[in-house]
C-alpha cells in the first residue's frame, strides 16, 4: 500500500513543472534613442584599476530591431573630454567592466553611446568615479566564518586526540566481515588476495587502503592464512611490506612473514588488471580485498573475483567505481566510510582527530539545514541568502 502511494506521488511529480508561454513584444520604433540613466562605480571587491559602467537599455534596443548594433563606451579624464572609446558591448547588454589602463586614485568620466549603423545616440556624461583596490572581499564573510569554524574544530580535535583522549567511532559493517572472510579462506586452505588500487602513495585513498591492509594482515597472521598483495607501484610495494611485516611482528608471528607476500606487477593500468585476472583464475583465492584508489579496472577485477566465487570486500572513495563494487562485491566501504576505516584501524591520533572535527562540521551543517528549511519555509527571513558567496 505504501509503495502504491509512493508510486502515485512519484508520477504526480513527473507531471509538475511545464514551461510557461512567451510574451510578445510591441512593434519597433524608427528613431534611435540613447540609453537612459547611466552610472559608473568602482568595481567592488577587486584589486583596483577597474570600474563598472551600467545603464538602462535604450528604448530602441529590442530584438526586432536587427540593425541595432550595441553600445560603445567612451571615457575621459575630465567632463569636457576628450572622450575616447574604451570598448563596446553587443545589443541587450547593460554593463561594461572597464579595466583598460586605469590608474587607482585618478578621476574618470563616462558616456554610453547606442549605435545603429552610422547613427549614434550618446547618454549623459557620468562621473567622476575613482578606481580603488579593497582589502577585504565583503561578499565572502560567510566563507571566512566557515573556514575559521571548521579549521578550529579540526585543529582542536587533532590536539585532543594527540593528548591521548579517546575518540568514539561507530561500527563499520565491512570491517566486521574481515574475520569471517579470513576464517573462511583458512578453512578452505586457499589464498587471500589484497589489492590496494592502482594509484601511488600520493593518493589519500592508497594510504587508507594500506591502513586496512595492516588490519587484514593481523588477522591472517593469527589465523595462519596465506596473504598475497600484488601492487602496481614500487612505492606502494615498499609501504605495504613495512605494514604487513609490522602486523606479523605485532601478533607474534614474525617467522610467517616473508617479503614475497607483497610483490610488484606493473604500473600499467590494464596490464595490472590482466595480470591479476591471471592470478585469480590460476590460484582461485577464497577472499579478495579491493581497498584503495580504483578506476576503470575495478570492473574487470571485481568481475573475475566474482566468477571464481571469492568473498569480496571492497572499499574506495572513487564515486564512479562505487556502483560497480556495490553490485559485484559482498561488502563495500563507501567513500568516507573507507577513509574512516583506514583512520580507525591505523589508530593514528591526528587522523582520528581530524575525522572527529569533520564529523562536527557535518553536525553543524545538519543543524543549519534543519533550522534553515524551517525558517525559509515560514518566510520570516531569507536564510538561504546567508549561504550566497560572491
Amino acid at each position: 500500500m505504501r509503495r502504491a502511494l509512493l508510486l502515485a506521488l512519484v508520477l504526480m511529480l513527473a507531471r509538475a513543472g511545464l514551461p510557461g508561454a512567451r510574451a510578445t513584444a510591441p512593434p519597433e520604433s524608427p528613431s534611435l534613442l540613447p540609453p537612459t540613466s547611466a552610472v559608473a562605480v568602482d568595481t567592488p571587491n577587486d584589486a583596483g584599476r577597474s570600474l563598472v559602467v551600467r545603464w538602462v537599455l535604450s528604448p530602441s534596443d529590442r530584438e526586432q530591431d536587427v540593425a541595432f548594433a550595441g553600445y560603445e563606451i567612451l571615457r575621459a579624464e575630465s567632463p569636457e573630454g576628450p572622450f575616447v572609446a574604451v570598448g563596446d558591448t553587443p545589443a541587450r547588454t547593460n554593463e561594461f567592466v572597464d579595466n583598460r589602463e586605469l590608474r587607482d586614485g585618478a578621476q574618470y568620466y563616462y558616456q554610453v553611446v547606442a549605435r545603429r549603423g552610422e547613427a549614434l545616440a550618446p547618454s549623459v556624461i557620468v562621473g567622476p568615479v575613482i578606481p580603488a583596490a579593497q582589502w577585504f572581499h565583503t561578499g565572502r564573510v560567510n566563507t571566512l566564518i566557515a573556514v575559521l569554524v571548521l579549521s578550529g574544530l579540526i585543529i582542536y580535535f587533532i590536539e585532543h586526540a594527540r593528548r591521548g583522549r579517546p575518540i568514539f567511532l561507530r561500527k563499520i559493517a565491512g570491517l566486521d566481515a574481515v574475520d569471517e572472510a579470513v576464517g573462511r579462506a583458512t578453512e578452505m586452505g586457499r589464498k587471500i588476495l589484497f589489492i590496494p588500487g592502482i594509484q601511488d602513495m600520493d593518493s589519500v585513498q592508497t594510504l587508507a587502503g594500506i591502513a586496512i591492509l595492516g588490519r587484514v594482515a593481523r588477522t591472517t597472521s593469527t589465523y595462519g592464512a596465506t596473504l598475497e598483495v600484488p601492487v602496481s607501484r614500487s612505492l606502494v610495494m615498499v609501504a605495504a611490506r613495512e605494514t604487513v611485516k609490522e602486523s606479523y611482528m605485532a601478533t607474534g608471528h614474525p617467522d610467517s612473514y616473508h617479503d614475497d607476500m607483497v610483490y610488484y606487477l606493473t604500473d600499467d593500468q590494464f596490464g595490472y588488471a590482466a595480470a591479476l585476472e591471471g592470478i585469480m583464475v590460476r590460484e582461485k583465492p577464497a577472499t579478495i580485498f579491493l581497498q584503495g584508489h580504483f578506476f576503470a579496472e575495478s570492473l574487470i577485477l571485481a568481475e573475475n573475483g566474482n566468477a571464481i566465487g571469492a568473498i569480496q570486500i571492497a572499499g574506495t572513495a572513487e564515486p564512479s567505481q562505487l556502483p560497480f563494487f556495490v553490485a559485484t562485491c559482498d561488502y563495500t566501504l563507501i567513500g568516507e566510510e573507507f577513509f574512516v576505516a583506514g583512520a580507525y584501524l591505523s589508530r593514528e591520533p591526528r587522523q582520528l582527530g581530524s575525522l572527529k572535527g569533520q564529523d562536527l562540521g557535518k553536525a553543524i551543517i545538519l543543524a543549519l539545514l534543519l533550522v534553515g528549511i524551517v525558517v525559509q519555509t515560514t518566510g520570516v527571513f531569507d536564510f538561504a541568502s546567508l549561504f550566497l558567496v560572491q
Binding site: V10, L11, L13, A14, R15, N45, D46, A47, G48, A133, Q134, W135, F136, H137, R140, T143, L144, V147, L150, S151, I154, I155, I158, M201, D202, V204, L207, L235, D267, F270, A296, L299, I300, A302, E303, N306, A307, A317, P319, P323, F324, V326, A327, T328, D330, G335, E336, F339, R350, S354, L355, G357, Q358, G361, K362, I365
Partner: protein
C-alpha cells in the same frame, strides 16, 4: 624543512587571496599560478622521461617482453621528433602537419579503442557479476535499469501505452532530479569536509606522506 615551509606558504597565500583582493596578494597569486603551470608541465615531462628510462632498462636487461619496450621507445621518439622538428614548430597542431596525422590516425583510434573495450567488460560483468545479492544491490540495479531504459528512446517506446508524462523517460528524469540529486549532495558535502581537513593538515604540515614520510 624547506618543502614544509613551501607548502604552508603557498597554501596560505591562496587562502588569503580569496578574501583579500588588494595587492600584493592579487599579483602574487597571478605569478604563483604561472609557476604552477610551468612546474606541472615539467612534472608531466618527468612521467614521459621516466617511462623511457624504465623501458630502456628493460631492453638492456633483456627482461621478459623487452621487444615491446623497444616499440615503446621507438614510437615515443617518432612522435617527439615529428612534433619538434617536422611539424612547423609552434604550428605543430595545424591540420595537415605530420604531427596532426599521427594524432588523427594513430593516437586517436588507439585511445578510443582502449576505452571502448570497457563496453565489453561491462556487458560480461552484467551477466556474470552484477547480482541482486542484498537489498542495497537490488535497489541499485533497479534504479540502474530505469535510468538505462529511460534515457534512450526505447524506454518511451515500450511504455508508449502510458499517457505522456508518465513514461520511462519521465521516471528517469525523476530519479535524476530527486534521489540522485539528494544522494550526490550528501556525498559532495562529505567530500568537501574531507578536502578541507586534508588541505588543512597539508598546510599545517601534519600530513606529509606525499613527501615520502619525514621531510
Amino acid at each position: 624543512m624547506v618543502p614544509l615551509f613551501l607548502t604552508a606558504f603557498v597554501g596560505t597565500i591562496f587562502v588569503i587571496q580569496f578574501f583579500v583582493p588588494h595587492r600584493p596578494f592579487s599579483s602574487m597569486q597571478g605569478l604563483l599560478t604561472d609557476w604552477v603551470q610551468i612546474i606541472v608541465a615539467f612534472a608531466i615531462w618527468l612521467g614521459a622521461l621516466n617511462l623511457m628510462r624504465v623501458s630502456a632498462e628493460s631492453v638492456s636487461k633483456r627482461e621478459k617482453g623487452w621487444p615491446y619496450a623497444v616499440i615503446i621507445i621507438a614510437s615515443f621518439l617518432l612522435m617527439a621528433v615529428i612534433g619538434f622538428f617536422f611539424s612547423g614548430g609552434t604550428r605543430f597542431q595545424d591540420p595537415g602537419t605530420p604531427f596532426d596525422w599521427m594524432y588523427q590516425n594513430v593516437y586517436n583510434p588507439l585511445s578510443a579503442t582502449m576505452f571502448a573495450m570497457l563496453a565489453f567488460y561491462v556487458a560480461s560483468a552484467s551477466y556474470r557479476a552484477f547480482r541482486a545479492r542484498n537489498r542495497e544491490a537490488t535497489l541499485l540495479l533497479l534504479a540502474g535499469f530505469l535510468v538505462m531504459l529511460g534515457r534512450v528512446p526505447v524506454g518511451d517506446q515500450i511504455t508508449a501505452f502510458l499517457p505522456d508524462g508518465y513514461r520511462l523517460s519521465n521516471l528517469a528524469d525523476l530519479i535524476m532530479n530527486i534521489p540522485n540529486k539528494a544522494g550526490q549532495r550528501a556525498i559532495m558535502i562529505g567530500i568537501a569536509l574531507g578536502i578541507v581537513s586534508t588541505s588543512l593538515r597539508l598546510i599545517l604540515g601534519i600530513e606529509r606522506s606525499h613527501l615520502g614520510g619525514e621531510a
